[in-house]
Symmetry: C2
Subunit: 349 residues, 2 copies
């Protein structure tokens, strides 16, 4: 890997990854879930804050946090992964947050469904999209903007889409979007707008930087590319044994060793996880557990007969739509969607 | 800066820093406090877990978590900073966790004082030290070990030293040492042993790797060095204005701008914070608030008249013992105790 720059390191310090041993927990404890914060965490006075719902609707209105909390509540376990997860493993790489493998987490989000709120506002006949505006402002790509993303009206009306005010049973902490964030189960993290302040129905004219400039999968600078949307399948394993502090290489004793991990896909349920102890030359099926929810990762286990020597452990997930993880990443300009298999070096003695 | 290696990046992903805007909070919210975890976060069954108190004592015993929680409780706000904070700003730098500036946090730790427990055990007449053993095991410097640190018996008997089972009013989360961690106010973070399982009184024979190999301030490889102990003074400011995503350079409008930040020292109370807007060529005094506790950081404010152009903001703390922050770091082999002033590039328009 080319050396990481100080700019990338600054981002790696701010933006927290999941320590891989935390994959043991079906629900990620607060403080261990990944974080990607483009600008600064805004200071929000929840007493003053309101969510506005407007644009091309019959009946624009706004809601206080209390009003949102008095609406029907729903709790969903949802796996979120950053679209840039794996970016630092591409070469050459886009200068941005240099994620390796661990930009993921699963939380129980509590909120109120978005669809009834949109229906109450009443999108006009030619409405096609919904823009979600956060309170976080900054400059990216030379353009000053509030963080904003849009969804098609059809995607925004899906019943699993939530306006979340709680995580793991507690009010959102500042870093997860207090007081309100959008949750769009199955989609990469950029979709789940934090510090949400406005929902604006439109007819397709939204050209926000985070929608039109970022988050496109482009095979070259000339490729117009395709928008990044739902999470590709990925599996991760809890590195077995004990680590070396610096290299994170693992050491364990020979004998039976239960490998465990999690797998997820935003495209379809996970149907298969395979494990390799020879860097992907040969594979064996792991035993799948139940998914934590229809929108969260699936646990898996594999009893490995660890024999002396050096090994490279890998795991590979496949979903019901036939998508599977590649052995090597597919390079792209922005460093998105790198779901190539994890590789963990282990010495068995 | 020389490019960061993949080994350092792996550590930067696992070990979380404080986003600097979070300095606005006197008490750091859970999930934003810095974390440095040498090995893996251990899985601990609190029902089975006991703290053993032994070694050169008259009456060795052990305590369950419930027994610890039924003892007299004390809550202290304590600022913790990693001894390696600032390491990545040294050149050449030691290959370890590549902290820039943000390896700090202040939490309200609740626990029971250590001194009465030591007195109940009754150190023998020639006892001089106390060894604290965590449950986290790994390899560092080629040596497999549990994470262990010692204190002199005198330091261990100080009334502010706690065995903490709660942070910010809640049970410790896994990453902060569940179910029990040592808190030694004023000392750098390596002292506050997490996942504490044993307290062993000794007579000076402890030679643990984390005590004797790591955490020495050595000016060269030949320098025997001095042990790293208490936190040197440091101040940090909340970067004003809005950031550029990648460079973290700041942009703000001209006019009066209130700069704010925090300052701390483990050696003596903070008595002065100065601010510079020209990279340290000239300084002006900031207004100090009250310390959050005798063992926590002090807030400060400075009304800056921001005029158009490029500026480099710095802040510099001084404590009652006359220690002050240097403009340039003092290089050392392990990359410890770099409390050189923070520098924030700002463009005013």
């Amino acid at each position: 890997m080319e050396g990481i720059t100080v700019e990338e390191l600054q981002l790696a310090a701010r933006n927290h990854a999941l320590p891989l041993e935390t994959l043991r927990s079906p629900i990620t404890p607060i403080g261990l879930h990944y974080l990607l914060i483009h600008f600064d965490i805004p200071e929000v006075d929840a007493e003053q804050w309101r969510l506005s719902v407007g644009g091309l609707v019959e009946r624009p209105f706004s809601l206080s946090l209390e009003e949102l909390q008095s609406r029907p509540a729903k709790t969903l376990a949802v796996t979120l992964e950053c679209a840039g997860n794996g970016r630092a493993l591409l070469s050459p790489r886009s200068l941005s947050q240099p994620w390796l493998l661990e930009a993921v987490g699963t939380a129980e989000w509590t909120g109120t469904p978005l669809a009834p709120i949109l229906r109450e506002a009443g999108p006009v006949a030619d409405a096609t999209e919904v823009v979600f505006t956060g309170l976080d402002r900054g400059v990216q790509g030379g353009v000053e903007h509030l963080y904003e993303r849009s969804l098609s009206l059809d995607d925004a009306l899906r019943e699993e889409v939530l306006l979340a005010y709680a995580i793991n049973g507690r009010p959102l902490p500042p870093q997860h979007g207090y007081p309100l964030r959008l949750i769009v189960p199955g989609w990469y993290g950029m979709t789940h707008v934090k510090w949400l302040s406005a929902i604006t129905v439109g007819d397709g004219g939204f050209r926000g930087w985070q929608q039109e400039e970022a988050y496109y999968f482009q095979r070259s600078e000339d490729d117009p590319g395709t928008p990044v949307t739902r999470m590709l399948p990925r599996s991760l394993l809890v590195p077995p044994g004990i680590p070396d502090f610096l290299s994170r290489e693992r050491f364990l004793a020979s004998g039976q060793c239960v490998l465990e991990g999690r797998a997820w896909s935003g495209l379809a349920p996970i149907t298969r996880v395979e494990v390799s102890d020879d860097g992907g030359a040969s594979w064996a099926d792991a035993e799948l557990g139940a998914a934590v929810s229809p929108f969260a990762w699936t646990g898996w286990r594999f009893t490995w007969d660890a024999v002396g020597g050096a090994h490279e452990l890998c795991c590979r997930a496949t979903d019901a739509a036939g998508n599977t993880q590649p052995l090597e990443p597919e390079w792209n300009v922005g460093g998105y969607c790198n779901n190539a298999v994890q590789r963990v070096r282990v010495t068995v003695s």
